[in-house]
Symmetry: C2
Subunit: 208 residues, 2 copies
């Protein structure tokens, strides 16, 4: 009953199921998703889903792992390479997240919801945590004054960059905006945010 890995032609069906699961899970979350709907979306039969992935939960975990990687690797890339100019790093991070979230608008809520409901996720099964430590040069992460400022900067940067995607529907609804209008707003933020964050950086250093 276990899946054979090295046959070469079954990849197409497996991939169809994964793509369908990605769509459904991201739209509705785990509990509200129905395996029948995933099968329909994939254009295959429900039994095949269990044939390839054994269970709904297992399929979900696979999708979740991939999405966590996509989402957090952007931050990890940001954290390493201390040589690079701070402004350049921030611009890169903003551009990467903007591009990603225009394509996959539901990603942040999907990931944040999962982690909120399962806060031990990193501790138990993630290699992402290891990657972060690695990116920080294997120094033990101590809550020192300087690192605190770094973290405040990172939180602000992520907030101004990602949150507008999270609250998108509320704002569009409240202010009667079309998706195109809102996207225009989001793209303009790419220029705006680095200047803003640079100011924050100076401000934090001036406080000392």
């Amino acid at each position: 009953m276990k899946k054979e890995i090295d046959t070469q032609k079954d990849k197409s069906t497996e991939e169809k199921i994964k793509k369908a699961a990605e769509k459904i899970f991201l739209e509705r979350g785990f509990s509200a998703s129905r395996t029948r709907d995933i099968a329909d979306e994939a254009g295959i039969n429900l039994a095949l889903l269990n044939y390839y992935f054994r269970s709904k939960k297992n399929l979900y975990n696979i999708i979740m792992m991939e999405k966590l990687d996509v989402f957090f690797n952007i931050i990890i890339e940001e954290l390493k390479d201390n040589a690079v100019d701070l402004n350049q790093k921030m611009s890169e991070l903003i551009n990467k997240y903007t591009d990603l979230l225009i394509k996959e608008p539901r990603l942040p809520l999907f990931i944040m919801s999962e982690i909120q409901q399962n806060p031990d996720f990193f501790t138990k099964r993630m290699n992402i945590k290891m990657k972060v430590r690695e990116a920080l040069g294997n120094k033990p992460i101590i809550y020192s004054k300087s690192q605190e400022d770094d973290l405040q900067l990172l939180l602000s940067l992520l907030g101004v960059t990602i949150f507008p995607f999270i609250i998108r529907h509320s704002i569009q609804g409240l202010f009667n905006m079309t998706t195109d209008q809102y996207n225009e707003l989001l793209y303009k933020r790419r220029e705006m945010i680095p200047k803003l964050m640079n100011e924050l950086y100076n401000q934090l250093n001036a406080d000392k």
Copy 2:
């Protein structure tokens, strides 16, 4: 089978169920919540839940409406009263959200998830939209240059204020921080953010 409104002693049980539902729904969302768990949490029998609230969905809607009100009324208060100083308004908004979200950390994800899955929510059943129009002085909301800047400012402010609460578990997990350490960080942001946002405001006006 309908609930009698004007009896005076039944309020206790009804309130117990509502409080329990609030807890469970906010923790798990609608689909992952079990009415049995809500009943257990309330210390009453499952049948009573349906006696008082008819259905799970109805109970959920009641909780959701209240939470939407709590969450968005802070923004609405911010939008009206144009006479008040901008810095003061921003500080108030930051303090209100920080106080609220320290008490109810799961509120933003709960609301954002619901609206993402049901974007027509405002259009169909909300009086919040009306309140926003009212707060803006009954002017039709047109996507003009000046209002665009206002909106960028609002999005940034909400982002730096609320997002750190949303990403809390990820950051605590990644950086091995305790809840107390993270809360300390959050409180410090109350001072930091108004200065930052003021800079953004100047920046936007200088661009013209």
